[in-house]
Symmetry: C2
Subunit: 425 residues, 2 copies
């Protein structure tokens, strides 16, 4: 076997992941990979590596013919995009961990990668150490994928776990997560679901061959979840998780969203606690499969980057088979219903006309909530459920493909009576 | 992309898995795979498929030039070996689920596959639906694998779960497993660990590039485990699992065995209940990763076979990188110690001189057990711990690479005193 190609790396970024990769590579001599240069932004910062390794001039890496792999590990998605584009044009393969860049630019990057024949790998960008992209590409590569449900954001999962297990308030749990380094000092991207959304955007490409358009996927984070919700979850024998979800409906189209969800305590995703990530893949015949591991952190992320680098010894490429075959099947839809719990402080904040039926409601001094069925398009179109502290949490197995009309009529009548008599308090 | 090769299948066997595959393929039109012929042993049996599909003459499949893939799904390992050999020689790729055949003949089959340039895939042979071989080959393909621990036998896991959760006796749990189809009518291969051993034999090849020799791996099953042991496990906040285990020691050699083990209730493997399988892979940087899914059954096994067939569209081959590189590192060793629990009815049945130290012992009307440290070679050489109802169950994290000699001396003196005074009951 002489496929063992020599890998010469140019790395962009020497933060948590970049430095992790540097250490990991030092302990992986068999890989035969050399870091030739690392491009950094701030040359004054002290680094745990020889000074001659670093430069602030990106062209030194991009124009170096010996460097055959660019490893892109910077925060700035726009700068990353420029770097990666040039890398392809200059005949280099690219490994990236930049979920935001990939979510925003996958179609263009895919085209460039195909045109130049160079690989573009990014296992570290979703669920870090869990090889989810590779498995979706290689193993679940036919059209039998029923659903994929995942906890893809460690920060929010850490906070929810602490709210649930230690009865911490959202605020206290967030502070603890920040102290431990599981949440950014500016946690908005994690907390409000943007990070999970970015990851889900390209995981849909590898799951179902879908390239979602901007704003096409309904999402929120955990910003409005309260201790009361955690208590309700416990009563329902559930925990709350921010679940990224995709499901193939009977008509062949795909329902996909990133929303908080009640998860039964015996469900695999309930096993995913603290900063961990987990993915449950359900296919027609294999039944449920569960992948679990660290979704963030220096070494877990670096290890995924390392596996991508290692795969480049053999010029591995994602084939995007699902994207290129059966294209007529690869369509997102909002034409389905979901059963959801909604907690609120004031009934005024809930647009009750949006519901097809309300199956449960509760109100007392401490909390108000209802459980009802809503058409998914209503969530797509309206924003009331993200505002004024309204906490929307899907029930376990929330997707309803079609409603029983007779039942619905009866429900609507009940709802009219209920809403008419409704008083807070 | 015109890599979409036409697949023409000749299938051997139409039992649970073969019939499952037949049904699965009917629902996977996009695969473009055709079953041309199925070879069966008994032509009188009624089958849920057109009669013209079947033959009892294996040469009809093996000599058919149009058939490019032989799918081998029969029970008889020797007959399977003959079929697979001929298939390679006749220029066909092979997909197999026959763990016994693979465990016994992998070196020869590997040579044949390489000589003929044809693929040999067998994901279904270990953990059925869990893509463990593919991940070990492709993703964990460098030398950083710390350890791999797995529940690979669903029958024994079902029995242990029922003994633990429903306090059933071993016998009652076995009967229940048989009634549900999770255990064979002749359950010896499962119960006594042979099936797990077979799977572990070739998983070591994909994990560490080791081709174990016959009788090289120490193993047993769950045949001697009692309700008392389950009770002890509970007291130690553990469950009992039949764990297939491999660990890279500091000297680079690999410790591997298939033995019952106390597993902490918060360990990933404790999550693996009933007929499910699970694999925990620990690597230097990714930390612990956990794969979970159905390890047996018609459709889960057929789905793994299907994924192998699907990979043959692109002529996928296992590369056995670990076997061909770094061969000096790929060595099994018995030169380590383990901490183990041993329950027994009579002290006479325990060879006390084998122990380096005994750390805990207990005896009353109902049960006797000790917890001690033993050199692994002693287990390899002696068989007392499999006989006379002696129940050996490793402690959680059982492997000890080296002993503190001073501590050991003190322990030995204590042991001498303890053993001298020992009386049953």
């Amino acid at each position: 076997m002489d496929t063992h190609k020599k890998l010469v790396l140019g790395i962009f970024g020497f933060g948590v992941v970049g430095e992790g990769l540097y250490k990991v590579l030092q302990q992986t001599p068999s890989l035969n990979a050399t870091i030739k240069k690392v491009c950094i932004k701030n040359s004054d910062k002290k680094r745990n590596a020889p000074a001659e390794l670093f430069t602030v001039n990106k062209q030194i890496l991009l124009d170096d013919n010996e460097i055959n792999i660019i490893v892109e590990l910077i925060d700035d998605a726009d700068a990353a995009y420029e770097i990666v584009k040039t890398a392809f044009v200059n005949g280099k393969s690219v490994v990236s961990a930049n979920k935001k860049m990939i979510a925003e630019h996958l179609p263009e990057l895919l085209e460039l990668s195909q045109k130049t024949g160079k690989s573009f790998l990014y296992e570290a960008a979703c669920c870090a150490s869990i090889p989810v992209i590779r498995n979706l590409e290689e193993y679940y590569d036919n059209d039998l994928l029923h659903s994929i449900n995942a906890v893809v954001n460690g920060s929010t999962n850490y906070i929810l776990t602490k709210m649930f297990e230690e009865k911490l308030s959202f605020k206290d749990a967030l502070i603890q997560a920040q102290q431990l380094g599981f949440a950014e000092s500016n946690p908005v991207l994690d907390i409000e679901g943007y990070d999970a959304l970015n990851k889900w955007t390209f995981l849909l490409t590898h799951s179902y061959g879908i390239l979602p358009k901007k704003d096409e996927i309904v999402f929120t984070g955990i910003q409005n979840i309260t201790s009361h919700d955690a208590l309700q979850a416990d009563k329902k024998d559930c925990v709350i998780k921010l679940v990224a979800s995709a499901k193939k409906l009977k008509n062949g189209k795909v329902a996909a969203f990133v929303l908080p969800q009640f998860v039964k305590k015996d469900d695999q995703l309930a096993f995913v606690k603290n900063e961990y990530n987990g993915v449950v893949i359900e296919s027609s015949f294999a039944d449920k499969q569960f992948f679990y591991g660290k979704g963030a952190g220096s070494f877990p992320t670096a290890s995924a980057v390392l596996s991508d680098i290692s795969a480049l010894r053999y010029d591995y490429k994602y084939e995007y088979k699902k994207l290129f075959y059966n294209q007529q099947l690869n369509v997102l839809t909002n034409d389905f219903y979901i059963r959801t719990y909604v907690a609120f402080t004031d009934w005024e904040h809930v647009r009750k006309d949006d519901f097809e039926s309300i199956e449960e409601w509760h109100s007392n001094d401490q909390s108000n909530y209802l459980v009802g069925v809503i058409h998914f398009e209503k969530l797509q179109e309206s924003k009331w459920w993200k505002k004024n502290g309204v906490s929307l949490i899907l029930t376990a197995e929330p997707v309803i493909e079609s409603l029983d009309v007779a039942k619905l009529k009866k429900r609507s009548l009940e709802l009219a009576g209920f809403a008419g008599n409704y008083t807070v308090g």
